[in-house]
């Protein structure tokens, strides 16, 4: 009984989340998709490392941190672009995007250097 209640609640929660998510603006959904893509790439790299071992370690770190870093930057972009966020009301989204691009470029420079 308890179990079925829990699963029912989980299903209900899931559905409500899905419907709420559908209301988010498209640009935010694009950013979310991008974040998902980055994290998925990171997970695949970790799985690879788990299979073959961590040599060369620097390359592994570089790859994983690239994905993680770009995901983090995308998260901060989403925060800044989100119209519901009162804190960044005066910040134009173009500016936030420019920061995102710049930070990504710097991140990838460091990543490429560390890749070896």
């Amino acid at each position: 009984m308890g179990r079925s209640a829990t699963t029912k609640d989980a299903h209900a929660l899931f559905h409500s989340l899905r419907s709420a998510y559908a209301a988010t603006p498209n640009n935010l959904k694009i950013i979310d998709l991008y974040i998902l893509f980055a994290v998925a790439t990171a997970v695949i790299q970790v799985a690879y490392m788990a299979i073959v071992g961590s040599f060369p370690f620097n390359s592994f770190l570089s790859g994983v941190l690239s994905c993680v870093g770009t995901a983090v930057l995308a998260v901060s972009l989403r925060i800044q672009v989100n119209k519901d966020n009162k804190e960044f009301k005066d910040l134009p989204p173009e500016r936030a995007f420019a920061d995102f691009v710049l930070c990504n470029l710097v991140l990838h420079l460091v990543i490429i250097n560390f890749l070896g």
Binding site: N26, K29, I30, L33, Y34, L36, F37, A38, A40, T41, I44, Q45, A47, Y48, I51, V52, G53, F55, P92, E94, R95, F97, A98, V101, L105, H108, L109, I112, N113, L115
Partner: protein, 691 residues
């Protein structure tokens, strides 16, 4: 009385023992062949007349007939010199000397001219050399052209002028303003004075001859000698005529003395011992290496040979090594300096000294004269003479008592003679003895000298004994100079032991217990080698005998290491062994297929991202349409693509500095373009909002 005589005998013996004398040989074929080699004319002539004279005189004394080859050129040179008015005094002298041997045909006009030139020079002469050349020239002229009158009127003045240059010690100065005196100048002066005597008109003052005799004796007082009885004249200073060697100085003095002896019929009373010493000096040179030295030697020997009152006789031995085994006989030759036979005499062997010790025995045995070979032969060696080195003392006894006055034999002549022989070695054996009891473990007989290859083994408690007997052909005991036993380890370390003897028996016992430390505790095979040798032993040998396997105890901690053996230089400086480097094993890389699979897997999220974008309805509607903003927008995207391409290049081959430089430029560009694009987008969206 008898006691005094005994002491005298001992003193004489001691004196005889202390003075050594050298054995010299008279002039022989080696001198003749050297003369032919040294005096070989270049292009048919000898260069100067002086050299021509030296060559001709040497050949004449040695009896070599070689004059014909150079006669024509030399005679022409002589004639030219005598005719020419520009010839120097020395040239006249040399030309006349050459002519005295060659006896060329001379123009009487030239001869008269020469004579007047020489007389003029003599009158104006002041230095010794001028006197010598002019007087010498006149003497030669008188000998060759008997019709020419060259007698001196003022001989007295000339004699005194030359004498004035003489010193009180018998030497002469070359001129009055040259303070250095020399023996060489003395010889020249004596020749010149003798020439004056022979040229002077028949009134010869006898006091001159006495003065000359005294001068010669004074000169002999300054003679130098070696310990073996050789006398010679040497110079203390380098004279005006350059450095004179003892050979040339002594030859010059001998010429002077011979000239004086020839000029007078009186006896000069020359000290016989010193004449003999001079003869030994000249013969002791051997065969000189230069032409001028050979000339001086042969010239002086010819004059010494012909001295009337003390002709030296040389006692020589053609062979000083006598083999008892081959039954050689000791032969002695007595001859004059130039090798001519001596008058009838006999040679007696007076004493024999053992070389290196004070033993001496008086023999007094006469040697038999063999007329065929001209040698005196000692037919049998004295009884107590065995293999070894001895000094034989000979004496010459003249048959005719008159000869004793005219010949000088040099008293007792001592000669070092080696008596050699084959030494018999018997009863040679090598034994391993067991411990203190001395019982024989392993005994092997050896054949010495001969091939032996014994194989022994011993441990450190045992002893090795090698023994053999040595005896001379006469059966006496013989102690050789060298009797060594050498043990050589296989690693190259040597140990050498002396083999001692008592009488005829030679024995060595190696006690390994005491030698263990000396052998550096090295066990293993030791090769045995025996060396027995002596200068008078004809069958000296150095032979391997075999080997002995030694079992030694282990070395204690503080034992000395054996000395390092010499390294073969080719192995030390040659190439070394190849080094194989051991690298860290490379990391195990994953299989290629796995990697490629994951490469594909990693790209899957990207495609998923694109698919998601399409599903979400992402579009490019907001892309600027008008020219300028669209250009900037395109450039912006291109700029980002360029930066990413730069990163790829950086990963592939660029370094950080180049990348940063390029990135700086691209960044500037991108900033500018991006700013333009984004500000345009911002302005359009704000316009939309306001509208």
């Amino acid at each position: 009385m008898a006691r005094d005589l005994g002491i005298l005998v001992i003193v004489v013996l001691v004196l005889a023992a202390t003075c050594q004398s050298a054995v010299v040989s008279p002039v022989s074929e080696s001198h003749r062949s050297a003369a032919l080699e040294l005096f070989s004319p270049a292009h048919g002539s000898y260069g100067s007349l002086e050299e021509t004279y030296e060559a001709l005189k040497t050949f004449k004394v040695l009896g070599i007939e070689k004059k014909h080859a150079i006669r024509t050129s030399s005679c022409a040179s002589v004639a030219d010199t005598l005719k020419s008015t520009s010839s120097a005094l020395k040239d006249f002298f040399d030309a006349l000397r050459v002519n005295s041997i060659l006896k060329c045909e001379l123009n009487s006009e030239a001869v008269r001219g020469t004579q007047s030139r020489l007389k003029d020079s003599l009158n104006g002469a002041s230095s010794l050399i001028d006197f010598y050349y002019s007087i010498g020239g006149l003497v030669l002229l008188k000998e060759q052209m008997s019709e020419v009158d060259v007698n001196l009127g003022d001989a007295d003045r000339i004699f005194r002028s030359i004498k004035a240059l003489g010193q009180s010690d018998g030497r002469w100065r070359l001129s009055s303003n040259n303070p250095e005196s020399s023996n060489n100048a003395a010889g020249i002066a004596l020749e010149a004075l003798a020439g004056v005597i022979s040229l002077a008109t028949p009134q010869i003052d006898n006091s001159w001859i006495t003065t000359l005799k005294n001068d010669i004796l004074k000169l002999f007082d300054g003679i130098e000698r070696y310990d073996d009885g050789t006398y010679y004249f040497d110079e203390k200073h380098v004279g005006a005529r350059g450095h004179q060697s003892p050979l040339s100085s002594s030859a010059s003095v001998v010429r002077g003395i011979a000239a004086v002896a020839a000029a007078t019929s009186e006896t000069l009373n020359l000290p016989g011992e010193k004449i003999m010493g001079l003869a030994k000096f000249f013969l002791g040179v051997g065969v000189p290496g230069s032409a001028q030295d050979l000339y001086h030697q042969i010239d002086a020997l010819s004059y010494l040979e012909n001295i009337r009152e003390s002709t030296p006789l040389i006692l020589s031995l053609p062979a000083t090594v006598i083999s008892v085994t081959k039954k050689d006989q000791l032969k002695v030759r007595v001859s004059t300096l130039l090798g001519s036979p001596a008058p009838t005499l006999s040679v007696r062997l007076m004493q024999i000294f053992v070389s290196g010790s004070k033993d001496a025995s008086v023999i007094d045995q006469e040697l038999k004269f063999d007329a065929v070979s001209g040698m005196h032969v000692l037919e049998t060696l004295p009884k107590n003479i065995d293999v070894g080195s001895y000094i034989f003392s000979f004496e010459v006894i003249f048959h005719n008592p008159e000869h004793k006055k005219t010949y000088v034999s040099g008293g007792r002549t001592r000669v070092l003679v080696h008596i050699t022989g084959v030494i018999k070695i018997d009863n040679a054996e090598i034994v391993i003895l067991d411990g203190d009891r001395g019982s024989v473990e392993n005994q092997k007989k050896l054949k010495l000298p001969g091939d032996n290859a014994v194989a022994l083994s011993a441990n450190h408690l045992q002893k090795l004994r090698l023994s053999f007997d040595m005896s001379t052909p006469f059966g006496n005991a013989f102690k050789p100079h060298q009797a060594f036993l050498k043990l050589r380890h296989e690693s190259g370390v040597d140990h050498i032991f002396l083999v001692g003897n008592s009488g005829k028996k030679f024995e060595i016992i190696l006690d390994f217990l005491g030698l263990v430390e000396k052998f550096f505790y090295l066990p293993g095979r030791y090769n045995i080698q025996l060396t027995v040798g002596d200068a008078d032993m004809e069958n000296s040998f150095l032979q391997p005998l075999g080997f002995v396997e030694l079992d030694l105890p282990d070395a204690p901690e503080k034992a000395t290491r054996p000395p390092p053996q010499a390294v073969d230089p080719y192995s030390r400086y040659g190439p070394k062994a190849e080094i194989t480097h051991i690298f860290r094993a490379p990391e195990k890389r994953p299989a290629k297929e796995l990697s490629l699979t994951f490469l594909g897997l990693v790209l899957v999220p990207f495609f998923g991202f694109l698919a998601g974008l399409v599903q979400l309805g992402a579009n490019l509607k907001n892309f600027p349409k008008s020219t300028v903003p669209s250009t900037f927008a395109i450039l912006f995207h291109l700029g980002i693509a360029a930066v990413l391409a730069l990163y790829t290049l950086f990963w592939l081959k660029l370094d950080l500095f180049t990348t940063l430089k390029a990135l700086g430029f691209l960044g500037m560009f991108l900033m500018f373009v991006g700013h333009k694009t984004l500000s345009h987008l911002a302005s359009t969206s704000s316009k939309l909002k306001s509208v």
